[in-house]
């Protein structure tokens, strides 16, 4: 399972910043509403089953709440809601991927709620294409590219962007407003 492989490397995630050259990495792929997404394995701390999530009032809807990760409280984000996809019921396969991103020099752990974890893929950088322009209606801001393996295509997420990139500030603004 991916958990074991990621433990050792996850720590380095902060230093291992992107750059097109580094894209030939391993990616953890998961499912969101039937579509396959992938994130750099370096950012992944661990994968846990769905825990009981405590909703936090006065936060955006895509923030599902907080969980107790072995005594540490971390927020859990539902990317589907973030990307404007319909909310679906949690199933037995619903997982929380704990990622660690660095923001303002601090390592921040956040849980990402996914429908199902698939596998770890090797995707070379030449197999990654820029996200195609799909018009206003499709959210491409947090897409790093499209990864091709055989005839499969996974949407590679810029997870730092999803969780930080102006998002926290926006989140704050929303709360203040």
């Amino acid at each position: 399972m991916a958990t074991c492989e990621t433990g050792a490397t996850g720590l380095k995630s902060a230093e291992n910043r992107v750059g097109d050259v580094d894209l030939a990495e391993k990616y953890l792929t998961f499912e969101l509403a039937g579509e396959e997404y992938g994130i750099e394995i370096l950012k992944v701390r661990e994968i846990i089953g769905l825990l009981s999530i405590t909703p936090v009032p006065r936060t955006p809807e895509y923030v599902r709440g907080v969980i107790n990760l072995r005594g540490k409280v971390i927020p859990v984000v539902d990317p589907k809601l973030k990307f404007g996809m319909p909310r679906t019921e949690d199933t037995r396969e619903t997982c929380i991927i704990v990622v660690e991103v660095s923001h303002a020099g601090e390592a921040i752990s956040t849980g990402i709620l996914v429908d199902r974890v698939r596998e770890v893929l090797d995707i070379k950088s030449e197999d990654i294409e820029d996200a195609p322009e799909m018009g206003e209606s499709v959210e491409t801001e947090f897409i790093r590219g499209m990864g091709k393996t055989g005839d499969r295509v996974s949407i590679l997420l810029d997870i730092d962007g999803v969780l930080t990139g102006g998002e926290l500030e926006q989140l704050k603004k929303t709360k203040e407003g």
């Binding site: 009981s52 405590t54 909703p55 936090v56 009032p57 006065r58 936060t59 955006p60 809807e61 895509y62 923030v63 709440g65 907080v66 969980i67 107790n68 072995r70 005594g71 540490k72 409280v73 971390i74 927020p75 984000v77 809601l81 973030k82 990307f83 404007g84 923001h103 601090e106 921040i108 752990s109 956040t110 959210e139 801001e141 947090f142 969780l163 998002e167 926290l168 926006q170 989140l171 704050k172 929303t174 709360k175 203040e176």
Partner: protein
């Protein structure tokens, strides 16, 4: 040999040289071995080091056959040599050149470096970062200690104990900064040290505080910005100006007395040789006996029998000497007898320093007896003993209780040079030291100069060494109890440990509250679970205690503040602290500082009367009193600041409150309620009330700070008698006592401190305003009622008022009612942040792991009420929840 090994070896050697007795052949042998190894092992990089070690080896060899006096002198030289070796190893050999003792008889490279020159440069050299960091991290506590000493000196006078303690600190800093190449700091310490040695003058305390401040600022600058060029010129000027007008005797309480005593020397006029011989023999016996008794007393200060025996010895010597007209001996034994008499009556504690002085007296008497014997044989008069005046000073100091205040003598650092040891142990006086210093222009090392100039005999130096060793031995046992070994730990690691302990506690409660365990566990399992619970609790308590620090440094800062303020305003204030060893969570201690500064300032500025006459007229002592105390009560820490000033003017506050409409006309308020008014935000800035009441500047800030610490503040005041501000603080910020409430399906934790009461209202108690805002009537008083489910938009909450529960909470001095579904219980929880990814959530101060492993949210009542108020006032304008979400979803684009 590697440099590190070499350094270690020299360090051991340094300790050996200082600690050992010239007659201790084993020690000398050890030294020889070490010198030999260094001489062989010194790398080619350190030619001087090798040379010094070789010369020292030869010198140590000679010591074995030398007379005690020669040996003691050689030992001094060796100590200086080791010091020079340390400099050579840690800094540069160039700098060590100046330090190589001449007596070592080695040729130093040309271009004698002037020590004073080399330290004067403003720009520091490159320094080993690790050593620097280590040094700087230790300085905070050193500075605190220094300030404490200086302030004590300000309060009770600068006695020898404090003088040498301060000097010891300054000297250590001087050595360390010297090694690190922090030249300005070193120069300042050097000047300060000389200044203290010279006896200081009237402004000693002010100057020392300036020095301490400069050092503190400088070290902080180094810590935050790395090594930058600093200039101590301003502070140094203090000493230049001061030293010209210095009157060494002013600060020295015994200085005047020192002149009164004149050693007479031994002149045997018309004395019966037979009687004298008997006297000498008899007295020697007494002195031997005195030595034994002293050793007993050193171990057991309470031993009355030994004390009486000691007293008798001196008494007998005094009587016989007086009869034989041996003035020096009789006077010396007389003073020593006085000292012992005082101890006998229990007015003086025979601690390390006092015992030392008596030891010295015994030695001096022996010397005098020797002199008498010599005079008897040669028939020539003997010159006065040079040591006697200094000894008398010490005896008198001890007699006035100044040398005996502290029972434990702080151990001398092994690298301490002999000069310092001499002064500290009291074998020589500041006056002599000063003379030598002036002659040597402050550049010569004391011990060496003293010996060279014949101020102190080498044997006396050795005696001082021994005395010091004894003092150290005496202090050793006391220290073993008092000073505990400590380990410095990264606070991050400590926090992590506490996190893990928190997890352990939670895991334990999850297991022990599991249905399977609760329902059908065997007796054995239950017993084991109980044991586990007990151990878990003690681990938790231990973990918490590790974050605790004493409040003493904070109190010390306040002492300084009071001193400065009192001086500025010209008020005479006595500052008393109590319970400064009370321990608080680190974070609380850090945050309590500002409120305390505010309160102390208020007490001094406004509380204490401007004119002492007013105080006298009110039947109070002219000297005002401000007390700061800390104590535990019922699981909380209380910090109180009390003054005996004029107190609050109740009527003026009330009048102002009515004027502002805060209080309705005709309403009766208790004193407590009235005084609480000054915590209201608008109040504090109102100039009139401040002037009249003498209180209130920034009191709202104080209250807010205390509340942020989840504490409470209360004020008790009586007109004309003074004001006491009492702050109740939680033991730790990591744990909170909370009520667990249920709203919908969600559990929340409400800090127990914010809840006044909870009740189930009847229908009649609730009234609606404008069909929307609700009001609750509690015992005749109306207060706004808010539904938590509305504020937090929690679905499925109880809507029926009669089925729900209402908590009366206090926020910003106002009471409001919060409606929740149910009260589930009361519990202590460990506060956790909601994760950095979450940021600040309004109304929620953090999370806590509940016994079932889920996260419970801790409410910030103040913010919740604020939210409720703003939601009510802009209810129509505020977008409904659905709109808000829509806006958010759109935002990422």
């Amino acid at each position: 040999m590697r440099k590190a090994d070499l350094g270690k070896m020299i360090e051991v050697l340094a300790a050996d040289v200082v600690m050992s007795d010239p007659h201790d052949l084993q020690a000398v042998g050890r030294m020889m071995e070490a010198f030999g190894k260094i001489a062989e092992g010194a790398p080619g990089k350190f030619p001087l080091l090798g040379k010094m070690a070789a010369a020292a080896l030869a010198m140590a060899e000679d010591m074995i056959v030398q007379s005690p006096e020669q040996a003691a002198q050689a030992l001094n030289t060796l100590a200086d040599t080791v010091a020079a070796m340390q400099v050579a190893l840690c800094r540069t050999e160039q700098e060590a050149v100046a330090l190589v003792p001449a007596a070592l008889g080695i040729e130093t490279p040309a271009g004698e470096a002037d020590e004073a020159e080399s330290v004067a440069g403003g720009n520091p050299i490159a320094v080993d970062d690790d050593i620097l960091a280590e040094f700087l991290s230790g300085q905070e506590s050193v500075m605190e200690e220094l300030e404490g000493l200086i302030l004590d000196a300000d309060k009770d006078g600068l006695n020898d104990e404090r003088r040498s303690a301060i000097k010891r600190i300054i000297h250590t800093i001087k050595g360390e900064t010297g090694m690190l190449g922090l030249n300005e700091a070193q120069r300042l310490c050097h000047e300060t040290e000389s200044y203290i040695e010279a006896g200081g003058n009237g402004q000693t305390v002010d100057k020392l505080l300036s020095v301490k401040d400069w050092l503190n600022t400088t070290f902080q600058t180094y810590t935050s910005r790395g090594i930058v060029a600093v200039d101590a010129g301003e502070v140094l000027k203090l000493f230049e100006a001061g030293s010209e007008t210095a009157e060494p005797e002013v600060a020295d309480p015994a200085g005047g007395e020192e002149d009164k005593f004149e050693a007479h020397g031994i002149a045997l006029v018309d004395a019966d040789p037979g009687l004298l011989q008997d006297f000498i023999a008899e007295s020697r016996g007494h002195l031997d006996n005195a030595d034994v008794q002293l050793l007993t007393i050193e171990g057991e200060p309470e031993d009355q029998e030994a004390l009486n025996a000691l007293f008798r010895s001196f008494h007998t010597i005094k009587g016989s000497a007086g009869f034989l007209e041996l003035t020096d001996i009789s006077e010396l034994s007389h003073v020593a007898e006085d000292l012992l008499d005082k101890a006998r009556k229990g007015a003086l504690m025979l601690g390390g320093p006092v015992v030392d002085v008596i030891f010295e007296s015994v030695d001096a008497l022996r010397r005098l007896l020797d002199a008498v014997e010599k005079a008897l044989v040669t028939g020539e008069p003997v010159d006065p003993d040079k040591e006697l005046p200094a000894l008398f000073t010490h005896l008198r100091l001890a007699l006035s209780g100044q040398a005996g205040e502290e029972t434990a003598v702080a151990p001398v650092a092994p690298d301490k040079r002999l000069g310092e040891i001499l002064v500290e142990s009291g074998s020589t006086s500041e006056q002599e030291v000063k003379e030598v210093l002036t002659a040597g222009d402050g550049k010569v090392k004391l011990g060496e100069a003293l010996v060279q100039e014949g101020k102190v005999k080498a044997s006396e130096v050795a005696g001082a060494l021994r005395a010091q060793k004894k003092a150290r031995g005496a202090a050793g046992t006391a220290d073993a109890v008092r000073v505990r070994e400590t380990v410095k730990i990264d606070t991050d690691r400590l926090d992590k440990l506490l996190d893990v302990i928190g997890e352990l506690v939670i895991a334990e409660s999850i297991v022990s509250q599991d249905d399977e365990i609760l329902d059908d566990a065997s007796h054995r399992v239950t017993r084991n679970m109980r044991q586990l619970h007990k151990i878990t609790r003690s681990v938790q308590e231990l973990g918490m205690s590790m974050r605790m620090v004493a409040i003493k440094p904070t109190f010390q800062k306040m002492a300084r503040l009071v001193r400065d303020l009192a001086r500025k305003s010209g008020k005479n204030v006595e500052f008393v602290t109590n319970g400064e060893d009370t321990e608080l969570d680190r974070s609380v201690v850090e945050k309590i500082n500002d409120p305390l500064v505010h309160l102390v300032r208020n007490s001094l500025d406004h509380g204490i009367e401007d004119d002492p006459q007013q105080r006298v007229a009110a039947g109070k002592p002219a000297l005002a009193r401000v007390e700061l105390r800390a104590f535990h009560r019922g699981g909380n820490i209380f910090i109180e600041i009390a003054d005996d000033g004029r107190g609050l003017d109740r009527d003026a506050i009330l009048e102002k409150a009515r004027e502002k409409g805060v209080v309705e006309d005709g309403s009766e308020l208790s004193d407590k309620e009235v005084f609480h008014l000054i915590f209201a935000p608008g109040f504090s800035t109102a100039k009139k009330i401040t002037d009249v009441s003498g209180r209130g500047v920034g009191m709202d800030v104080v209250k807010r700070n205390i509340e942020a610490l989840r504490g409470n503040i209360e004020l008790i005041s009586k007109p004309g008698e003074g004001t006491t501000v009492s702050m109740q603080l939680p033991l730790t910020l990591a744990i909170i006592e909370g009520l667990i409430i249920l709203v919908g399906r969600e559990r929340y934790i409400v800090p127990t401190l914010s809840v006044i009461e909870s009740m189930r209202p009847t229908k009649d108690d609730v009234s609606t305003v404008n069909g929307r805002s609700e009001m609750l009537k509690v015992r005749g008083a109306l207060m706004p009622l808010y539904r938590l489910s509305k504020i937090f938009a929690i679905p499925g909450a109880e809507q029926d008022m009669q089925e729900a529960l209402v908590m009366i909470v206090e926020s910003q001095g106002k009471q409001v009612a919060l409606m929740v579904d149910k009260l589930l219980g009361q519990q202590q929880v460990v506060i956790k942040s909601l994760g950095r990814g979450m940021g600040k959530v309004q109304g929620i101060s953090g999370g806590a792991i509940m016994p079932d492993g889920r996260v419970g949210l801790i409410m910030d009542i103040g913010e919740v009420v604020k939210l409720a108020v703003s939601a009510n006032s802009v209810l129509k304008a505020a977008p409904p929840v659905a709109d808000r979400q829509e806006a958010l979803v759109a935002q990422p684009a």
